[in-house]
Amino acid sequence: MSDDTTPTSPVQIALAWLLVGIPLAYGLWQTLVKASALFTG
């Protein structure tokens, strides 16, 4: 029974967030590059 109550591994949580965080960071970066044209264009 003790296995059933084992808390989720922090590594698993980090991997799940990385999975969605990496594409989101890519999108944010690309948008920031595009948005910078407002101040330099």
Binding site: T8, G27, A35, A37
Partner: protein
């Protein structure tokens, strides 16, 4: 019982609730692609040798199907659980791209309507609402934060899809340079891009479906402990649509979205027109594109920041801010927006952050009013306001602008009637929000309410 059923995905004790937002984000980041559809517009027009309006219908059809499917299938999503719903959304969204790809490859525009517009649109509706009630159940203490994270993903999805699609089209068509004005990708590269996106999004959404769990005790709705609304309300979706609160909130969402879309739709030409003197604009086309990027960021961040804030200050005051402060900002934009680009951009950024915030905060508002009993299904029905605003917003703005001049020759003063109309729209939403009161007891599901009270009492006695 299948592995997709709600009973099969009850989290074991110790399962972290912080795995649920990434599961929801995997879905919302994928379906958020729909707001980047414009990246294909020019290439699709050339590929099908048709008008911009004919291609514009693909997007409109997808948004209308989003609203309709969320409304019609909301109860099914609520009862089937998030994993089955996410699987259905992944298949519809992925197959929608693939059928669309076949349509582009064969030159059959109706297949693009059917694939991306209808099948994909159904995937959008199911996908959008699929994680919402589960998130609220996992985060009863911070429902605004939880739904804000997921719905932020819908805004973020477009930020990813736009550069990714350009990269894919360049990969499949070496002659396509997205930065060149008027550049169009070949039909075969478009078809391959659609096919690739269909596969990638299906896989990504299925990962979300694998990660998702319902909280312990929520495998069966009839025996689950629900969080009631602020006055103890537990209301079913079929009854919720008979309450004035639902329709006041419908008006609130409709007005907030209509006003925001008015700016978003026109963002690039609008900033150039506001600073046009003697036929020439002081804002370059590149800077106008940058302004669209800034608004996309404001739209995305507003979803998370304002929705999270609503957990602290309450839902009604948050909408007083979106609609009341928003109204004043629109007025300032109409009267003083052309005084400097800094003023113009600052006002537009806050306005669009409120637009995004309005989407993200509404599930928590519904939870406060109707409880968690069928909050996902109620949310689905409310999204018809989005579909209606998606048609009304551009119609109002384009109609007014068409009556005052021609695109490319407009100046700041020409926008004033449209912006002042939006002030009126926001005023209506503001009043509707003020009219919202707790739901009357006559609308409660009394059986569910009594059983829920018993379960809460039993749990409290057991833990005493």
């Amino acid at each position: 019982m299948s592995r997709l059923d709600k009973q099969a995905i009850v989290a074991r004790p110790g399962y972290s609730r912080w795995l649920i937002p990434p599961a929801a984000l995997a879905v919302h980041l994928s379906i958020g692609q729909v707001y980047a559809f414009s990246v294909f517009k020019n290439s699709l027009v050339a590929s099908f040798d048709t008008s911009l309006t004919a291609i514009g219908w693909v997007f409109s059809l997808a948004i209308v199907m989003l609203g309709l499917s969320a409304a019609v299938l909301g109860t099914w999503v609520e009862r089937s659980g998030p994993r089955k719903a996410m699987l259905a959304a992944a298949l519809c969204w992925g197959v929608g791209f693939m059928v669309g790809s076949a349509g582009i490859a064969s030159g059959q525009l109706w297949l693009l309507y059917l694939g991306y517009g209808v099948i994909g649109g159904i995937g959008l509706g199911i996908g959008y609402i699929s994680p919402v009630s589960t998130l609220i159940k996992w985060f009863p203490d911070r429902p605004g934060l939880a739904t804000g994270m997921a719905i932020m993903g819908f805004g973020g999805g477009a930020l990813i899809a736009s550069p990714l699609s350009n990269k894919l089209m360049s990969l499949y068509d070496a002659d396509f340079v997205p930065t060149e004005p008027g550049a169009v990708a070949s039909a075969s590269s478009l078809a391959q891009t659609f096919l690739t996106l269909g596969v990638v999004y299906t896989v990504f959404m299925l990962i979300g479906a694998t990660l998702i769990r319902v909280p312990p005790g929520h495998g069966d709705d009839s025996t689950a402990e629900h969080s009631p609304g602020s006055n103890g309300a537990l209301v079913r979706a079929s009854q919720a649509i008979r309450t004035p609160q639902f329709w006041f909130l419908w008006v609130v969402l409709f007005c907030n979205v209509t006003a925001g879309i008015g700016i978003l739709e026109q963002a690039a030409p609008m900033i150039q027109d506001f600073f046009r003197e003697g036929g020439e604009s002081s804002v370059s086309a590149a800077a106008a594109g940058g302004f669209v990027g800034v608004l996309s960021l404001a739209n995305m961040l507003g979803r998370f920041v304002w929705s999270s804030l609503s957990d602290r200050i309450g839902r009604k005051p948050t909408y007083v801010m979106y609609l009341g402060v928003g109204l004043v900002l629109y007025l300032l934009l109409a009267l003083f927006g052309s005084s400097s680009t800094v003023v113009f951009v600052a006002l537009a950024v806050v306005i669009i952050s409120y637009y995004g915030g309005g989407f993200a905060t509404v599930p928590a508002y519904l939870k406060d009013l109707f409880g968690t009993l069928e909050v996902g299904a109620i949310h689905g029905r409310l999204l018809t306001a989005w579909a209606a605003a998606g048609v009304a917003g551009p119609l109002i703005v384009n109609g007014i602008l068409d009556s005052v001049g021609e695109p490319g020759n407009l100046v700041a003063a020409d926008y004033r009637p449209a912006l002042l109309t939006m002030v009126g729209v926001l005023a209506i939403g503001f009043l509707a929000n003020l009219m919202i009161r707790p739901v009357a007891e006559t609308h409660f599901d009394h059986d569910a309410h009594a059983a829920n009270e018993d379960r809460i009492t039993a749990r409290q006695e057991a833990t005493r």
